[in-house]
Symmetry: C2
Subunit: 263 residues, 2 copies
């Protein structure tokens, strides 16, 4: 499994990914899942991938081959991020088409997905999520973040914190790492090192990047602090009163004893 996420705010973009990959519990390995295709000063482009690694590697190898052979259409010539999203969607369709029949025979999924974020000179910063089927979504002010892979454990903190207008990039980075840490705690198939980039709108260069390895003091610190806060907050919550609400008819107040089917 994998967990990648990207957050777009007025101030810029955060993209982060874990590095665990596995094909069954007995083949667990490490693979980079956040890639930087930027040309400083001209375009900032970051890609994260999730899903079948042989598909996503194949697709990114084609992206690189087009770059190396200076194909007329490549990730450095396309004029907008929208075009880049379409291009990756097209390569995804091509690679899946080539492999699907053979993987299906053995019940193996070809499913994969990408996050594509960045900015091309003259354009606004953008964030896309590209599906296995080659179609894609674009982040908006109302939906300023995307996740791919094992998304559920890390979603509640994003829903509570992230706001396109008001969240600073430092806060978004902290939230992204907390979201990844919660996921690592609940699912062993997501693991370090964690790669993270911070991109400031209109800078056209990577502002910050970090690779946080297993045992990184910052990760350990936020995990411990967060656990302590959660436990303290939980203790402070009021307990449930089991008293019935007199304003509600008694049958409404109670779980009917016996099954509803018995009467």
């Amino acid at each position: 499994m994998t967990y990648c996420l990207a957050i777009l705010t007025r101030a810029g973009l955060i993209m982060a990914a874990d590095s665990r990959t596995n094909a069954g519990v007995d083949f667990v390995s490490t693979a980079q899942k956040l890639f930087d295709f930027s040309i400083p000063g001209e375009r900032a482009i970051f890609i994260c991938n999730a899903g079948n690694l042989s598909m996503t590697q194949n697709i990114l190898m084609l992206v690189n081959r087009d770059l190396k052979t200076q194909a007329s259409i490549n990730i450095h010539t396309l004029p907008t991020l929208y075009d880049v999203a379409k291009y990756i969607g097209r390569l995804t369709r091509q690679v899946i088409e080539e492999n699907q029949e053979w993987l299906k025979k053995d019940g193996i999924s070809t499913s994969c997905s990408f996050l594509l974020g960045g900015q091309i000179k003259g354009e606004a910063p953008e964030l896309y999520m590209i599906y296995s089927q080659g179609n894609f979504l674009r982040a908006t002010k109302e939906t300023p973040y995307f996740q791919i892979g094992e998304i559920k454990y890390g979603k509640p903190i994003l829903d509570r914190v992230i706001n396109y207008e008001y969240t600073s990039l430092e806060e978004a980075a902290k939230c992204a790492l907390l979201s990844i840490d919660s996921t690592m705690k609940s699912n062993i198939s997501v693991g370090p090192p964690i790669n993270i980039v911070l991109y400031e709108s209109d800078s056209l260069v990577v502002s910050h990047r970090r690779k946080l390895s297993k045992g990184d003091p910052y990760l350990e610190n936020i995990r411990r602090s967060w656990e302590e806060s959660v436990k303290r907050s939980f203790k402070d919550l009021p307990g449930l009163s089991w008293d019935l609400d007199p304003s509600i008819p008694e049958a409404e107040n109670w779980l009917a004893p016996g099954s509803v089917y018995t009467n």
Copy 2:
């Protein structure tokens, strides 16, 4: 979708369930998913169900029919909860067997699951999770809670709080409701009313039960308090330092710019 959970501690048992049911977004309805089959003083038996409602209803109707017709084997005559788990597993296999072929034709899943908790006089309190296939798991000191349905959003708080030896039943009830509330916030297919029962070990009667409807002041209170605590705790967490760790080789510190495939 559905979310049910049950927590077994040394002090007793908490079982709770939401009541939302849906077949597509245009057929959303309410269904009770926590049932009480107790005989006060002799046996306390609670069942929660998740998955295909036509399967789970059918299975529970058979449980009730056996009770009504006073079949020699029924939920009130079986001597242990282990036997009750086996009995429900057998009925599950029977109902799925009858329907599977027809539902498969239209790509509809027959998948369903149950939580079975309680105590029979002379036995210890127990908790089981019964799968679609009729097999089942029993809760242990190391794994003192089970969830069925939409389980991921509400799991982190359980992992952080629940302990078989030390968690009181009041704390377990609070944790169960918080877990359900987090799930409702992130997934609209889980919704009120929420039914919850509290059973104290060796009492052989239901100690407390509550039905919390939409807008219940306690639910609103813990949601608001929890959100405020989470936001405050998040603010208090230290920010990520982007400085490199001098003890680590530079290549290790940084996300390699450009794709790994370019070199």
